[in-house]
Each structure stands twice: as structure tokens, then as C-alpha cells.
Symmetry: C2
Amino acid sequence: MARRTSRRQAGGRAKGALHQLPWRQVRNRFPPVDILSADQIEHIHNSSLQVLEDLGMEVMGESARRLLKEAGADVDDATMRVRFDRAMVMEHIAKAPSAFTIHSRNPERDVVFGGNHVVVTAVSSTPNCSDLDRGRRPGSYDDFCDLLRLSQSLNVIHYYAGYPVEPQDLPVPTRHLDCYIAFITLTDRAWRTYSLGGDRCRDGIAMNKIARQIGDDEMRAKPGLMTLINTNSPLRLDGPMSEGLIEMARAGQGVAITPFTLCGAMAPATLAGALTQQNAEALAALALVQLVNPGNPVMYGGFTSNVDMKSGAPAFGTPEYVKATLAGGQLARRYGIPFRTSNVNASNAPDAQGAYESGMSLWAAILAHGNMIHHGAGWLEGGLVSSFEKMVIDAEMIQMMFETLEPLEVSDDAIGLDAMREVGPGGHFFGAQHTLERYETAFYAPMLSDWRNFETWSEAGSPDAAQRANRIWKQLLETYEEPALDPAIREELDAYVARRKEEGGAEDA
Amino acid sequence: MARRTSRRQAGGRAKGALHQLPWRQVRNRFPPVDILSADQIEHIHNSSLQVLEDLGMEVMGESARRLLKEAGADVDDATMRVRFDRAMVMEHIAKAPSAFTIHSRNPERDVVFGGNHVVVTAVSSTPNCSDLDRGRRPGSYDDFCDLLRLSQSLNVIHYYAGYPVEPQDLPVPTRHLDCYIAFITLTDRAWRTYSLGGDRCRDGIAMNKIARQIGDDEMRAKPGLMTLINTNSPLRLDGPMSEGLIEMARAGQGVAITPFTLCGAMAPATLAGALTQQNAEALAALALVQLVNPGNPVMYGGFTSNVDMKSGAPAFGTPEYVKATLAGGQLARRYGIPFRTSNVNASNAPDAQGAYESGMSLWAAILAHGNMIHHGAGWLEGGLVSSFEKMVIDAEMIQMMFETLEPLEVSDDAIGLDAMREVGPGGHFFGAQHTLERYETAFYAPMLSDWRNFETWSEAGSPDAAQRANRIWKQLLETYEEPALDPAIREELDAYVARRKEEGGAEDA
């Protein structure tokens, strides 16, 4: 028994237990990497303002057009075209805060967006999911809940920026109610509403207030939600999205704007063109948020990538994607607005391609000083699939990145000249006092990586990373525990959902 | 037929042909990432000089000790301990050039080390090799030659910094002769000698001169070889390595010094300690090169990583590895000496782990401004195996990195406001003139990545990245062509090898 205890101490854990870093706020200590000169950034900035002045945006929501007209924009209701004066745009953009907090029902899980903070989210908005045992299938509510349980069990996931898979087996008008209650009961992280019209936002706000037992004022002072607004590139903001944007800004909740500017499809076939268009669309929507509610929390989203030249299919984690992300970060910093990035790839399998494309995306996010890494864990196939195995692989990659961002201690004590003296030329440090004092916590201990020698690994059946990830997600689901929630709150939430279902759910989209 | 031609033009290639970037010198346009402050770098610098003064190095080669004694070092021949005065070390270090060229028999393949140049090498010095068909096996000369043919076929491989696998079926004293002639005849890239004593270096120099048809003076003025000197950490330089170092420096050939400082094994269990020891060992050996031949081409090598806490096995591509590489780059820049890095991982398979660990190593190499990325393609299992599939996977990853380093063009023409005007809100850019003009070359076209949709990919047998890489290396070997070489040179080389084999090959180690 004594021997077992000492082995456990040396390894720092019981056999079979998984290594995870603790849940923590993460700071990006790397300098951001600028790939464009200040002149080039101004060139893109000015060109995008010219786009907004000359071409404008098609704004399909009536209330949005009315608000923009009142603010002095040139609005043509017949064509829905809105042209923006550059001074007006910049005046409103200047009101955006450089950092803000989104609050969770568990205050320990509050997340800060801005500065050098890094927030990682689970994959979202995929229609399908897959795992090695059951293959690829349309998303169901069971899968949705399992992906919530799995990501809740992964300490690197800070936040839910959407449904980890679309529960296609639930009716559309009430689906959001089932999803929101799952966010609240199965996890203790902050989450987001879907901006498909105002109803889904209002329900989200109501349920978030119940979960946190707060009123309108506190909800406004301490926002608990953020929504994601995709402009309909090129140069279009659709009706439901603009309704959601207005609803959320009125309630003081976060709004992340992300144009989906694929070079060669919904944007010019050049990075400079796509970035200009991304910037124009983002600035227009960001200005709209600020004129609804000056100072409202917002994020500048970059999602520029390229298409496959052969098929027109979107590609991710490409060299173009990396450069667009780095330049996007420079633009966001130009405006002092927190930057949303993603961890994306176009692989069909949780294999080497999935890992190297994700690796490119992740490094781009970190070097661009992305404040939110959306789709942080689990995304495959350019967003068509949430993979249980990829979620574990991504979690390991993100843990490694987080640990890489931790400072390197340089001190006489850390350097350990005495240890070198003790060991001498040709010796080894395994038994040195300096080593023994640090052994347990000296290095990052992986969750997924397998460092056994080839013989031992072969005897264990030569499991590749995806097969090991398969075992890990099952283990995490087996040991998952639902976070505590006051039964009275649960009752109130159930009652709200029941009433809203009776009313028919969302009506406006 | 017209349709087929036009489709081929749109895709930019014939069906089945592989996409590769052209062979080219690569410049690193990213700023280097500094993770240590100038004070912290000085702390490590001063501590390492203190190590050299107080502890010194065990220098096992007699000629090396003699040279160091003549230069004023404190030498104890009985214990082989050499203690270095810090002013003497820094005086010699200051003579190292900040950049140099290693010349190939094909002048188009000359490679520059230093500045913001990036040189990528094939994997080297592994005892085994593997592929998906034949599994893992001890390296043979057939494998050695196939790995040369494969890497010669990959445009991202600039240089051979060692044997791509150890041909264990060849007798040791003459093995280097067969390997050198293969470097010269099967490839047109520059290569290196093994510094196991002076004989292997002398043979390399002789054969390099024959291959390039040059004499001693030109060989010295335009070096054609670089050797790799691993100090025997901690704090030991063995006899054969020091003989090789002296031989190569006397002939004016490149010498890359790389201490192998594994935290917790051959170095303290802290990054600061391992970096201090790495720096001490590197400075001592670099000073030795410079005192043999002031101004001799040298590289500062960083290979600090950590061990697995459980087994003591080396780990690579870890957070510790990334930080050590970034700090190592800062130290190399501190001395103005080109920096050697590596593309390494500890995976047993060419799977997601192999890719994400390599991805961490590669990004570290680029952000540290590594001038040589050693083991650039093909390394697995912490260096115990050269994998044919991993060589292709790494080549794709490196191509992506190279393309990421290409500048992003920002101009009115690239931005294309006219295209946005032409397309308008809600349209698409597939048929826009701006797109058609750029379509063929707009984006990076992958060699390995599979962007087909899931259905098409499934119908093709759901090949993962490793399986596709398997097909690619076979295709590359099938289409491989031996680079032209004057038959008279070949004859001269054969005669040299025959004579040296008759003499028994290398005698001194």
C-alpha cells in the first residue's frame, strides 16, 4: 500500500484518472503578431468605410432601418439599402467598451472578454454529430445534452457560444427553450441566445434571470448572455438577425458580430478584399448595436477564409485563414473592440488533417490576440459535424496552448546551479534534490497524448489518438456530475418553459 | 475536350497530379516572439557563463583540450575538466558570422542560414523506419535511399542534416561512404557529415569537393557541408564529436552545436535550468569552433524539452518544448548566431497527436525565428522512427507554414471595390471578373488535405490523412527522377568510395 501511495504521488494522480488543467481565466502573454503595416490597416479601414458610404448594406429588418434613419443614415426602404456616413459609423464605434464580463449562474465561471483574456467555447451550430462507435448522424437532443455534459467536464471550455449540435429532433418553435434549460441545468458556464428574431432572445433573457435570480437592472448591469450576429455576406443584414441584435442590445446583453466572408464566394477572391468587406459589415452592425445602446458589450468577429478552388467548398485552418485572422485581430485592436476567432478545420475525420488545420487556427487565434476562440472544441467538416473524439483532441490542444502561455520562471532557484554542481558532467538529474522538489508539477501532463514506448503501446493495441479520445469522452460522461442547482430555481425554469411551450414558443422566425 | 481543358485550367492542374509549392528560399516575415525579458535573458546568459567558469565542461578529446589550453582555458588533463573564462568565451563567440551559405552541387539549391531565412531538413538519425504497408523495422540502405528519393521529391525539403534513417544493414566503418554517395547521386540538395571522429568528416569533404569539382580553397570559401555536434549533456563534449568539430572547422565547413538538455534527465527539471545549461554547453563548443577557425559558420542549437513524469521518456512538442524554443531563439539572437530548431513529436503513429505535437514544434520554430528546422519531415516516436507517411504529412504542414509567411497584398486592385459594386448585397463572387482573374492562383492548394464533402469522401473509402499520405509517397517514389550528374563525376566518386572501402573506411571511431 505504501508503494502504491508513493507511486501515485510521483505520478501526481491515481491510475486511470484524467489529467486536466484546472478551470481558470487565461491570459495571453504573447505579443500579438502584426502582419500588416499601420498604413495597410488604414487602407483597409478607409476602403471599408468607402464601401459603407458608396454601396452601403442591405438591412432587411424594418426596426433596424428606422433606427439607422433616425441616426442620420441614408435609407431607401424600397430597396432596403442603407448607406452610412463614415463619421457617424466611427462616432458610434467609439462607444464600444474595450472589455466586458459575461456572468454565469456560478460566479466562478464568469468570463472576461477583452484585454489579453482568452475565452474558449464548445463547438456550435453544427447540424450533425459523430463518434467512432455510432458514426455520423443528424444531431438529436440526446446528443446535444451529452455534448453539454462532455464539455462541462472539460475544464478548458469556458463558455457556450451556441448549441454544441442542433437538436434536429425537437420542434423548431420551442427547441430553444429545451436548449436553454439544458445549458442552465447540465452546465454552470455562461451561454448565449440564438438571434433568430426577438422571441428567442426574450426567452433567453427571462430564463437567464431566473437561473441567476436577478431582475432587469442587475441583468443589464451584469449581462449573462451574448448573441452571435452573422451578417449575410456580402453586405446584407437579414431581418431575424437584426431583430435579435436590437433585442439583445436593448437589454444590455453582449453582441458578437461575425461576417462570414469566404474569399471567392461571399467576398472577393483576395484576402484584402474579403477583409475590407468583413470590416465594412462588422462596423455597420457594431454601429447599430451602439446606437441602440451606447456602451453595449460587443465583439468584432473575424471568420474570413477561402474556398477550395476545385469545388467551392469552404476551407479552414488554411494559410489564408491564418493571415485573415491575424489581420482581423489588428483591425479589432484598431477599434479597441474584443476580437472573436475560431478553432476550425475542414477534415472529415479526427485525424492528422483535423489536428494540423485546427493547430493553424488555434495559433492564429492566439497570435491575433483573439479574446474568444469560438468552436474551441469538437468542430469537424467545416462545421457540419460535432465530433465527440475531436472535442477531446481539441481540449488537449487547448490545454497545451494554455500551458504554453504560462510564464517561464527565471530565478537563481529555478536555474539551480547547485543541482548542476551536484550532478556534474555526464551525470543525470533524476535523483537530484532540485528535481525531486519539482518532479510532480514540473511539466505539463497530457490528457490524451500517449508517450509510452512503441512496444508497450503496441501491446495495448496500438490505439491512435482518435481511439484514445473515444475512451476518454466515455470516461468523462461516466464520471460527469450535474452541477448543483437550487430545486426552486429548477421548478421556476420548468414552469417558464411549460408556459412558453403552451403559448407555442417563438413566433417571429 | 474543351470542357475538360477548361476544368483543368480552373483547377490549375491535371487530375491526379500533386500540388506542391515550388522549391524556394523562404523568408520568415513574422516578428520573433520574445517570451523572456532582456533582464531574464541576461540572467540566463550570466548564469551560463558562471557554469563555465565554476564547473566547466568535461572535454574528452585531447586535441580540443590542447587548443583550449592554448587559448587560456583552465585545463585539467587528468579529469578532462576545462574551465572557461567568460571574457575568453565571449571574445570568440563574437567572431561567429550572423549568416552564411551552404552550397550544393546544384547551385540553385544553395541554402542560406541566418537573418530571416528558414531552411527545412528531412528527418535524421533515426534507427528505425516505418510505413503503413510494411510496419516498423530497423533502417536499411534501401529505406535510406527511398527516404532520400522521397524527400528529394518534396520541394519543401531544403537540406539534409543527417541520414534520414540509419542504414543498419551496412557495416559501420564504411557506412558513411555509401550514405554520402547516395546524398550526392539521389538528391541535388546540400548535406552533412557525421562527426564521429575526423575520418568521416575528411571523407565527406573529399566527396563534396569531387561532387562540386572544386579544390580546397573554393571548398573553404564556399562551404558545402555542415556537421551537427551534440554535446553529451550535462557538460560533456565527447572525443569523436570534438574531433569532428575540429576537422570541420579547420576546413571552414559549418558546425551546428546542439546540446540535448532534457529537463529532469540530462538537465535540471526547470526550463530556466535547462536553458542555462544548454547555453553554457553551446557557448563552450561555439567558442571552440571559433578559436579553431575565426569566423567559421556556426549555428546555435536548441533542443531543450522535458521528460514524461511517469516513465522518464523524452516528450516533444510540449508546452515546455515551445517555451524552451522561443527562449532559445532569444539567446541565439543575443549572440547574433543563426538558430537551429526542430520539428519533433513523441507520437507512435502518424495520427492527430503526431500532427498537433509537430504543429506546436513548427510554430515554435517559426516564432523563435529558427533558421534551420531540423527533422523537418518524417520524424515520429521521439526520433526512434522515420515514417514515410509522416514525411508527407509534415511536408503539407510546412507548405502551409511557408504560404502563411508570404506577404498579404493590400492594394486598391486587390481590395476590388468594383467587384463588390458588381456583385452587390446578397450576391456571390464566383463569376465576378475580379475572381476569374485570380481564381487559379488565389489560394493555397493542398497536397494532402482532403476537402471533399463527407459523402464523396465516404464513397472513396473514407481515407484518413495517413492513408492518403501513404498513397502520396508511393506516387512520389514512382515519379521520382534522379537529378542529372556528370558520369565522369560519378566515376570519380565511385573510385573514391572503392578505394576508401579497400582501406577499411573510418578508423577513428
